[in-house]
């Protein structure tokens, strides 16, 4: 919702404030108002413009959906996934033999299906062995797959 705003020029505002009794005819008032004016905006709404009513229920619905969306995207701590479960099964052996390398995990067969120094190598290895084209990837011994 947009409210039209009219800002008085400084000299009119001074005159009005004096007329309303806010400012007195002395030098101190002038010093105070000079200090205030650059940082403050004095204005009034135009009465002629119609102000639309707020649909409170629509605002609440919108806010609720935005909160839900945020909760969905930001899950806080990372959840333990199927790929993590499969990795844990082979973790000890993998960390002994292939520390730092990339493994491709097939969560359906619960197996490590590809291994390589890069994601591409592990992916091509897994694709060749299984004929599938989507896997999960982990870097052996690390919580992340790449550092950026």
């Amino acid at each position: 919702m947009v409210y039209p705003e009219e800002v008085y020029p400084d000299y009119i505002l001074r005159e009005k404030m004096k007329k309303w009794g806010i400012l007195k005819e002395d030098e101190t008032s002038d010093i105070i108002i000079s200090a205030l004016l650059p940082s403050r905006r004095f204005g009034r709404f135009l009465r002629s413009e119609a102000i639309e009513a707020i649909d409170v229920m629509a605002e609440i619905r919108d806010l609720r959906s935005r909160v839900r969306d945020l909760e969905r995207r930001v899950g806080g701590k990372r959840e333990f996934t199927d790929a993590d479960y499969v990795y844990e099964l082979f973790k000890e052996e993998l960390e002994k033999k292939h520390f730092g390398r990339i493994v491709a995990i097939d969560t359906e067969s619960k197996k490590i299906v590809g291994i390589g120094d890069t994601i591409l190598e592990a992916y091509n290895d897994a694709k060749e062995k299984t004929g599938k084209d989507q896997f999960d990837f982990r870097r052996v011994g690390y919580k992340y797959i790449h550092k950026v």
């Binding site: 701590k77 996934t81 591409l120 992916y123 989507q134 896997f135 992340y144 790449h146 550092k147 950026v148």
Partner: protein, 150 residues
């Protein structure tokens, strides 16, 4: 000793906002059918091939290849944050030389534990692809040169 000639040599790009020179290369990236030219910062601290931010992919309407991961993949950002991302099998072309690469696309909104303060993530050209070539940073002369490996 035989002198090698780079197949690509570029001056560093001056960033007026930061008042610094950066090694930036223009590369073509995308699927086999549709590739688009982008500018990417040559970043030896980044271990991916090509690293993009989701908002950048949407803004530039990039058509990356096939998504190869099922579950989101965790990435570690230099400031310590962990962010989820996806991996795509794509084609990258540097000065006419094509390479099959994995493009990582992170979504800073899919963070864990603490929200990262991310303003802009420029496309990064990381070690995953740089290690396929010989790359020379001529720091004093503010030039970057890319050679075919032996």
């Amino acid at each position: 000793m035989e002198k090698k000639t780079p197949f690509l040599e570029r001056d560093y790009t001056y960033d007026e906002k930061n008042r610094q020179y950066f090694p930036i290369l223009k590369i073509l990236v995308g699927s086999k059918e549709f590739k688009k030219k982008i500018s990417a910062l040559v970043d030896t601290g980044c271990t991916t091939c090509i690293h993009l931010c989701k908002s950048y992919v949407e803004k530039e309407k990039l058509t990356l290849g096939k998504k190869i991961n099922k579950e989101p993949v965790p990435f570690s950002v230099a400031d310590g944050h962990a962010i989820n991302g996806d991996l795509y099998e794509a084609i990258c072309e540097i000065n006419g030389k094509e390479e099959q690469v994995i493009v990582s696309v992170v979504d800073p909104e899919r963070f864990f534990e603490e929200e990262p303060k991310v303003e802009i993530i420029e496309p990064l050209l990381g070690r995953g692809i740089l290690d396929k070539f010989d790359v020379l940073f001529k720091g004093k002369r503010r030039k970057i040169a890319v050679f075919h490996p032996e």
